[in-house]
Structures are given as structure tokens and as C-alpha cells.
């Protein structure tokens, strides 16, 4: 069995006095892609931000490679081992190449090494021709490719993706999901993907967690969750009411 790279035990998050994430256990294993699926306001982004060490925890611990985050592992050291891509590309002023190389520069990687890694990642994401373009002139798809390149260039142990394609149009989204599936397949990193698109979850994830009301309702293979929802709420969320409760719902 693959080893656990991240283990969250009983983590909960309060946001503005409200429970945004109930005490939750969650594990990420080496090389796997875990999907977090749920309706709007379910707490998906809160969970991924908490796992990425970007939100203060109200309770629980996160263990990374056997070391407790915030005790044996500082958040700075942890952040230098991960990467995150959000719904908005969140690019900083400057060119595409500057943005892609930013994480490497912050880690003190030399200019020569940085340049080589930036070039190869831009090629991988098919945006090498945009290297010297200002990010202000990019389309939505180009900006999100830049954001993905900025994360992948770091060769992270864990990649957190918080609905990275939510704002893109359908054709661009389909193309990027397809390309990302290939990239994740080729690389050994663990990935946590937040999505509210089932096809995206099925295409990209080895395992899937259904989240609602700040709690995980069910975890398993995407196909299993889709075909065998454990509760009616899960069936409603994944849109398989017919499978769960046939008589009254069949049309």
C-alpha cells in the first residue's frame, strides 16, 4: 500500500465564529489524486485551505511525513513542499515567466536553474510563446495555465487544486482537464482537487470524498460513490437519486 503523505486528524475550522468545517479526518497517499466534491457552501475550499496549512485550525492536527504541522514542521517549510492553484489565477504583476519562477525565487533557486525549469514547465503547459507577455494581457485559459505552471514548476509533494477550472468556458475547461489528467498521471505527486463537476472528479480522481455542511459524508472510488451512495443526501449531491430511491423518483 502507498504511504500516507498527509494525515489530518479531527481538524475543524471556524470562520467568523461559524463552524465552516466540522471535526474531520482525511488522508492523502503518495501519488494519488483525491477529489473533494460537494455543493456550494459545503466547506470544500475550507477543507483544502486547512489541509494546505493556509487557515488556522480550531482543533485537530495535520501530520506531514510523520511530522506535526505547526509543532515539528513550520508552516513555511511545509509551504515550500506543496503548491496550490485556486479558482482565480491570482497572478502577480509582471510577465508569465516571472510568475512561473516566483516560487523558485522565493526558495532561493539559482537564476540558471530557475530559467531552465521555467522553460520546460512553460513547454509542458503549452504556453512557452507567452513567456514574456504581461499577465494583464492573458485570456482566462492562459492565465490559469500560467497558474498551473507556477505550481507544477515547484515539483511539489502535494498539489492542492481549488476548483481551478470553474471560471473557464467549457471547451477550454475540457481541454485543460484532459491535459491535467495526463500531467498528474506522469508525475508522482499527491493531489487534492476540489471540484463541483462530477465529470472532472471522475476524469482526474482515484478517490473521492463527498462533503456537505462542513462534514465528509462518504469517501471511496468515484464510481463507487456515484453508484452506491450511502445516504439519500449523498445521492442528491451526486445526482443519483434514481439509483437510491427508485419508485417515487423514476420518470
Amino acid at each position: 500500500m502507498k504511504h500516507t503523505v498527509l494525515q489530518a486528524c479531527g481538524i475543524s475550522v471556524l470562520r467568523e465564529g461559524r463552524v465552516a468545517l466540522q471535526p474531520t479526518d482525511f488522508a492523502v497517499h503518495a501519488g494519488e489524486t483525491v477529489g473533494i466534491y460537494g455543493p456550494n457552501g459545503a466547506g470544500k475550499s475550507t477543507l483544502v485551505l486547512a489541509l494546505a496549512g493556509l487557515l488556522p485550525l480550531a482543533s485537530g492536527t495535520i501530520t506531514v511525513g510523520g511530522r506535526v504541522l505547526g509543532q515539528e514542521l513550520t508552516s513555511l517549510k511545509y509551504h515550500r513542499r506543496i503548491a496550490a492553484v485556486f479558482q482565480d489565477p491570482l497572478l502577480l504583476r509582471g510577465t508569465v515567466a516571472h510568475n512561473v519562477g516566483l516560487g523558485l525565487a522565493l526558495r532561493g533557486v539559482s537564476r540558471t536553474t530557475r530559467q531552465a525549469r521555467i522553460e520546460s514547465t512553460l513547454k509542458l503547459l503549452r504556453i512557452a510563446h507567452l513567456a514574456n507577455r504581461s499577465v494583464a494581457t492573458l485570456s482566462g485559459g492562459e492565465a490559469q495555465r500560467t497558474s498551473l505552471a507556477r505550481a507544477l514548476v515547484l515539483d511539489p509533494e502535494i498539489l492542492f487544486l481549488d476548483e481551478p477550472f470553474a471560471t473557464l468556458d467549457q471547451p477550454t475547461r475540457r481541454r485543460l482537464v484532459h491535459e491535467l489528467a495526463e500531467l498528474l498521471h506522469e508525475r508522482p505527486m499527491a493531489t487534492v482537487l476540489v471540484t463541483h463537476d462530477l465529470t472532472e472528479a471522475i476524469a482526474l480522481c482515484d478517490r473521492c470524498a463527498i462533503l456537505d455542511g462542513g462534514a465528509i459524508l462518504q469517501e471511496g472510488l468515484p464510481k463507487q460513490v456515484l453508484e452506491q451512495p450511502l445516504t439519500q443526501r449523498v445521492a442528491e449531491i451526486v445526482g443519483s437519486e434514481g439509483i437510491w430511491d427508485a419508485p417515487g423518483r423514476q420518470r
Binding site: 515550500r80 482565480d88 504583476r93 516560487g103
Partner: protein, 240 residues
């Protein structure tokens, strides 16, 4: 209504010509006053940026009890009367006062402290507003990229460089043109604490309109320079 006499206009005109001559001929006294004004106000505003930007970032991002009170104090600071700052600092710097041992009264450094206190709330307030207008997730993204606390501050500062320039210019504009605190803390000593504003007050009182106008022209030129720099920065920022 009495008409203004020709003599009046002649005197004013003569003063204006005298002012232009003073500036054009490089009158040493005038240039010392300009140099001291710039030295004191530029240093005070730079110091307020060094302290004000991190304090502004702290107030913008960290939630703690009393934060609203601190923000209100900063906003009040926008209208801080220079004479009150001058009065309080003068009392503190009196020979037998709590800061008397520093021997700073009637020195350019006392004026710098006064101007620093006047420009600090402006810099803090404008930094808070600029940072609050950024996407809240940008800070998380920078953190997730592996930035340390100071690297985060630097990158966020880069994102709001135009508002920060506005903060510097607003702070500089406020202190270079104030007279109350400078007069009380500096004492208008020639070659040391005599600056444009205190010199204008003194020369006008003595009837030396040519000198007063020369200093007034320089002050106006400084304000024009500030406005020009801001406009240029806004245009070049817009092009990016």
C-alpha cells in the same frame, strides 16, 4: 469700494521679479532653506513609510481585539493638527521634560520627529485601504508559494506600489507644507531649522515679499512635482 492702488501692484510685481532673480541667481540662503526643507520632509516621510507600511499590513490582515480602535486612531490622524503635535512634542522635549535629555529641541531632528508623527497615520491609513482592495486569496496564494513573512510583505507591497507611492506623496505633501509643528519644534534657526514654510511666515512678517514669494514659488513647484510624478506613475501603471 476702494480701488487697489498702483503702488500696491508695483510692490507685488517688484517682489515677484525679486523672487525670480533670487531663484535664478542661486541665492545661497534660499538654497539652504530649500535643502533643509527637502532633507527634513523627505527623511520624515521615508521613516513613516518604513514603519507605516508594516503596521498598515498588520492592521489590514490580523484580527485582534482593539483593531477597530487602532484604525479609528489612524483615521483621526489624517486630521491631526500640526500645532498640537508641535505643542505635545515641545513639552516632551523641554529641558526638564521626559525626553529633555535627548537635547533635540530646536534641531532638524525634532522637526523630523514631528513630521514623522504627522505623516505616519496617512501612510498607515492608505496602506490599509490599498491592501484591503486586493483579492483576499492573493495573500494565501503568496504564502502557498513558500513566501516568508517579509517576502509576503514585499510581494504585496509590489502589488500596491502605486497606492504606496500615493501614500508617500500624500505624506510628503502634508509635512512639507505644514508650518505649526516646524515653527514650534525647530524655532526657525537660519541654516539649520529654517524651512520654506517658516521662512515664508517670517519674511512676510518682515515685509520681504520678494523672499517670501521666492519660497512660495518653490513650495508650489514641489507640489507640482508631486502631482506630476503621481500622474506619470498612474499612466505607466495603466500601460502595464
Amino acid at each position: 469700494m476702494d480701488t487697489v492702488s498702483w503702488d500696491y501692484w508695483a510692490e507685488i510685481g517688484q517682489g515677484f521679479v525679486g523672487a525670480v532673480l533670487l531663484l535664478a541667481t542661486g541665492d545661497p540662503e534660499t538654497w539652504v532653506i530649500i535643502r533643509q526643507s527637502l532633507f527634513i520632509s523627505v527623511s520624515a516621510t521615508l521613516a513613516s513609510m518604513v514603519f507605516g507600511v508594516p503596521i498598515g499590513a498588520w492592521l489590514a490582515f490580523v484580527r485582534f481585539p482593539g483593531r477597530a480602535v487602532l484604525l479609528a486612531i489612524c483615521n483621526t490622524g489624517f486630521g491631526l493638527p500640526p500645532v498640537v503635535v508641535g505643542l505635545i512634542l515641545s513639552i516632551l522635549l523641554l529641558r526638564h521634560g521626559p525626553l529633555g535629555y535627548l537635547n533635540l529641541r530646536f534641531t532638524p531632528y525634532a522637526m523630523m520627529i514631528g513630521q514623522f508623527i504627522l505623516s505616519l497615520p496617512i501612510v498607515i491609513g492608505l496602506t490599509v485601504v490599498a491592501l484591503q482592495q486586493l483579492n483576499p486569496k492573493l495573500r494565501l496564494q503568496i504564502k502557498a508559494l513558500g513566501a516568508s513573512r517579509w517576502q509576503t510583505l514585499w510581494l504585496l507591497g509590489r502589488e500596491i506600489r502605486l497606492p504606496l507611492l500615493v501614500a508617500y506623496m500624500a505624506g510628503f505633501g502634508a509635512v512639507v507644507s505644514e508650518v505649526g509643528a516646524s515653527q514650534m519644534l525647530g524655532g526657525n534657526l537660519p541654516g539649520s531649522t529654517r524651512v520654506l514654510t517658516t521662512a515664508i511666515v517670517m519674511e512676510t512678517g518682515m515685509g520681504h515679499y520678494d523672499r517670501a514669494m521666492a519660497y512660495g514659488i518653490v513650495l508650489l513647484l514641489l507640489v507640482a512635482l508631486v502631482v506630476g510624478l503621481l500622474t506619470w506613475a498612474q499612466r505607466s501603471d495603466g500601460r502595464q
